[in-house]
Amino acid sequence: MGQCDGILTAGAEGMIVAEKEGCAMTGRHVLLIEDEPNIAEAIRFILSRDGWQVSTYGGGLAAVAQVQALCPDVLVLDVMLPGQSGHDILAELRAMPDFAHLPVLMLTAKGQGRDREMAMQGGANMFMAKPFSNAEIVAAVRSLGAGTNLKGAV
């Protein structure tokens, strides 16, 4: 993870807000890749209040690079993104040894069926259909974060 040492203040879409130094595993860092600014803002707000450090990125194209740069503990990934779909991003991440086990929660506006199947086959740890409730998101991210800690401890 040698490349995870940058300090990012703005992403390609101007959505990167959080800053992070190095790749120290705090266990409380979430990267949210979501192109809907208002949804991103709401999720960022509720996760921040739950004690998470939240980074957001609003595009599809450089999403993998963002993950590499930020090394989040949990990734919340939208499926319908401009440029590159969430499924493709997940596939790329899973092919990288560093991120093969990164806990991923996938969000999609298409609630059921094919998208869900694809997300699960692609290696998503959890799946959430929009519109979700805030409590659901917080619970999901918490449980994924706890899973990471557990894995780290073993």
């Binding site: 208002n38 709401a42 209040r49 409730s133 805030n134």
Partner: protein
Amino acid sequence: MALTGLTGSRVRERRLAASISQADLARAVGISASYLNLIEHNRRRISDAVLAKLATVLGVEPAILAEGAAGGAAQDVRAAAVLGGGSTPELDRMDEFLGRFPGWADLVAEQYRRIGHLERMVAALNDRISHDPHLSLALHEVLSAVSSVRSTAAILAETEDIDPDWRARFHGNLHVDSERLAIGAEVLVAYLDGSEQEADTGAAAPQEELEAWLAEHDWHFDALEVGGGGPEAMARGVAGLASAAARVLAQDWLVQAAHDAKALPLAAFEAALAKDPQGGDPLRLAQAFGCDVLTVFRRLAFRKRAKEGLVICDGAGALTVRKPVEGFTLPRHDAACPLWPLYSALSRPSQPVAALVEMPGLTRRHFYVRAHCSVTYPQGFGGPELRTAAMLIAKHSVPKTDEAFVPVGSSCRICARKGCVARREPSIIAQAV
């Protein structure tokens, strides 16, 4: 031959129904009573000539005697039987079923057709929902806006100590998203309204709907002749068609027919037909009137009380016009027989193709067909080539021994012709027999 199997039984059945004695019927058709008896017990094959005479005396179509109810009902009952589902109908007694319970047989046939329509409708609706990009996009919009509204509203409702700046920001977001939601809902409603209209036509494919309407009018409208009201005069008839797609097809058909009527004015066209020693050679007529050959084809087939059938296909071979002529079974949904001269013409634009063809069946039916293909370039040099082929179908008497004919069929599925080199799939008729 299996299809002949019960011809004699049908003769007997019809004779008894008409209360004619064996001796009287035999005398009327010029055969001996004992020979008729053998025929009636299916122990002698019937020649075409005797069959024709029997049919005349009994007042039925020769084809019905030869093949049982050869029409749509029989084919559809057979198709229903082959599909079968969980049951095993007595295929060998199908003729008996058709003969003894014509009402029930019609019902089975009708239900088979209805099931086909419904299956197509379900498939179409399925396609629409899973592949329609407009629907996906509209739903995505609404779900995104709803997600944002739900999340934001919950934050505002549940966070008591929210910072005023944040609160103002979330209120602003709510406002924007509610606008988006309103527009998204409108788009969805408009979409669903549209699909509702189409749903009630799902019972019939648009082309079938148009053909049924045209057949009702014998494929001819006086109003479309020069000096008539034109396509506008037919507006009410068009509006009566159930599906929007059929209305579009009907409108196109009427505009084309009016255009054809203008290119070949009725009086002049009929005079030319009367003068033509060949009784209306489309190529000569096209030359005389300076119009496209297909215009003449359509004019011939769609003139008042025209006997000719007409099929027109596009470059993919899909039939876009199907005016039937008795005995020349046109496929309803499947692709047509690849041996039709129509397709020879399609591959050789501008070259006339004429042939005598034979449709399979016990009563062999012959037709004189003429086919021609026109090529157009609606977008000029830069655009695609569009091919349209048409085939005029006219009844023909039984060919003389030295007359060559092309054996063709309707569509493989319902064609009984054996050993056909062009067969695509097994025939349900061959299987059923």
